[in-house]
Symmetry: C2
Subunit: 345 residues, 2 copies
């Protein structure tokens, strides 16, 4: 059976109401609120068809209908009318980009915060640095009589640092010497090339500098941190405002998964089309734990960092609004990127 125009309209009406109320929608409600030129009986007939076609579900006889995953799917795919952002909303979003020079990671966490605040859903983001990051320079610098600061600067402009306590004083001259040797050994190396073996090899060149092991430990730790995926979660408490999670145990479970790096990673890792907004509905989800949720997600690539950002909400998400917001932010992001590239040329 084909989806007639009328059927589509009814489906839309049901989805619209269900998104707002979280209650099954009955034929009379649709007649009153959306399609007053048809009688409830007619609408009922159409609804029965829609159910048979798999777009609707009925929690029990004598309840109204709720959309199925498939129902949401056609709703989303067949051009849902766009939510138009208010001026205020746009301004608010631009706020996140005010300090454009900021580190990519802090831009992403600001975006997440704004997205979650404005949609009332949960924003999640992964962020990983490019894999071929190199060591731009290493530095050792005296802070006071017994402490030196070790720094590792990467060619994406990242800085890692650590205080090291020394046994005897190391003055500026000595520190410069050590710095020079460090750079001659390691500058230009890929971060992933920093291994205990390589470090041990170079160790001999630092005779007389007792704390070199601490420096090496710092380098290893930093290298590991740089390669690690970071994860941002914002607004997870918003989940508690949906009647879907009025049961505390269910709420606890979903919050645990949302705050769990591993599952979040899996959730966000499937961008089929690079750089396009993707909508994942209910059971389309790779993780069972999120089968009651929908996700609007998109991959990004910004200042040496890449990853995905997503909005997680109940299945009856306000797709129109969530997608529009995501789209707007994505455009803003793209602007930054092209600006940055322009300046580079």
């Amino acid at each position: 059976m084909q989806l007639s125009d009328r059927k589509r309209k009814i489906l839309q009406a049901i989805i619209h109401d269900y998104i707002e109320t979280a209650e099954p929608v009955g034929s009379r409600t649709i007649c009153k609120n959306h399609i007053s030129d048809l009688s409830p009986a007619t609408i009922r007939n159409e609804m029965a068809d829609l159910e048979e076609m798999g777009y609707l579900e009925q929690p029990h006889t004598s309840a109204g209908r709720i959309p199925s995953d498939l129902g949401y799917r056609v709703f989303v795919d067949s051009g849902l009318e766009r939510y138009r952002l208010t001026i205020k909303e746009m301004l608010q979003m631009q706020e996140a980009f005010k300090h454009k020079m900021r580190e990519a990671n802090s831009i992403m966490s600001e975006i997440s915060s704004i997205l979650s605040q404005m949609t009332n859903y949960t924003a999640v983001a992964t962020s990983k640095r490019a894999s071929n990051i190199k060591i731009q320079s290493l530095q050792v610098m005296p802070i006071d009589a017994r402490r030196i600061l070790a720094m590792m600067i990467t060619n994406d402009g990242g800085v890692k640092n650590q205080l090291i306590v020394t046994h005897k004083e190391i003055d500026g001259v000595r520190a410069s010497e050590i710095t020079a040797v460090l750079n001659s050994c390691f500058a230009g190396m890929t971060v992933s090339d920093i291994t205990p073996e390589k470090l041990a090899e170079a160790g001999a060149r630092f005779r007389g500098f007792a704390e070199i092991d601490d420096v090496f430990e710092f380098m290893l730790k930093s290298a590991a941190e740089i390669e690690k995926q970071e994860i941002i979660v914002d607004g997870s408490i918003n989940m508690l405002s949906f009647p879907e999670y009025s049961d505390v145990n269910k709420a606890k479970r979903i919050l645990e998964y949302i705050n769990d790096k591993k599952s979040l990673n899996m959730l966000l890792q499937s961008p089929k089309r690079e750089n396009e907004i993707e909508v994942i509905i209910g059971n389309e989800n790779p993780l069972d734990e999120f089968k009651d949720c929908s996700i609007i997600m998109c991959s990004y690539n910004l200042g040496g960092r890449s990853g995905s950002i997503g909005l997680v909400g109940p299945r009856r998400m306000n797709y129109s609004k969530a997608i529009s917001m995501m789209e707007y932010l994505k455009n803003e992001l793209d602007n930054i990127i092209s600006e940055r590239t322009d300046e580079d040329e």
Copy 2:
């Protein structure tokens, strides 16, 4: 009326059971589980006394008793028997201190994570740097043709950094020049002395360096960040496992407050005795929102940072365990501090 030994025993029994079950405790239960040489009737009489004295409350006639704030208070103050940590627990805690060189802030967040995992309560911590932090040195360093890295190093070994896009290439020599001027202007200054006025004043000395304003902006931002109080929250979802918060709305409210920097700040700011463990029970709390909670807290002072760390749980918290854990961590922390100081001497 005096608290006889028997009354104290009964009070303890009630608190013990109530901490476990969260249900009002009746006379028969106490007789069976704790004091089998007295009849329920006798225990009932004592309970009536204890209620009159303000140590117990009765949710309604025909319910057992629950401890009042005052009840918990005498329980906590009159030497509750200490929970003895298992070897495993001790090892787990020491894990947090493995990398002793770490930055104070990351030690605190590791401690928070371990505390919340082991107690199943919520760990919160504030962390503020000493107020008289000075600029040790400033640096500007070329990263590639169009980007320089600005760094600000403070005398507590902290590093702030930011990438700045430039219009024309700035080579190493030029960068060193700028660095030298920056240091002659600002090295040794207190962070709080960095004001727009001071910066504007110095601006003239950087003619020919178009991006000085970006550097100044970075300095202002960094100075502000350094002076800002940081807040760590870990395990707030644990709150959802207590029957006290089986109502989602109540749960949401407390989670919102727990994740709100302002209220957390107030919550943790009242250490009457520096460096001692303090127990705040229910309504003793400065904030109404937390009147159903108890807090075990303690101030700390580590590597140029100071603040408080606390454990938040329901009023019927396992005080014995929570206090012991906190005490253990506090000792470990003190060890680090003294080690560090030793090395300095």
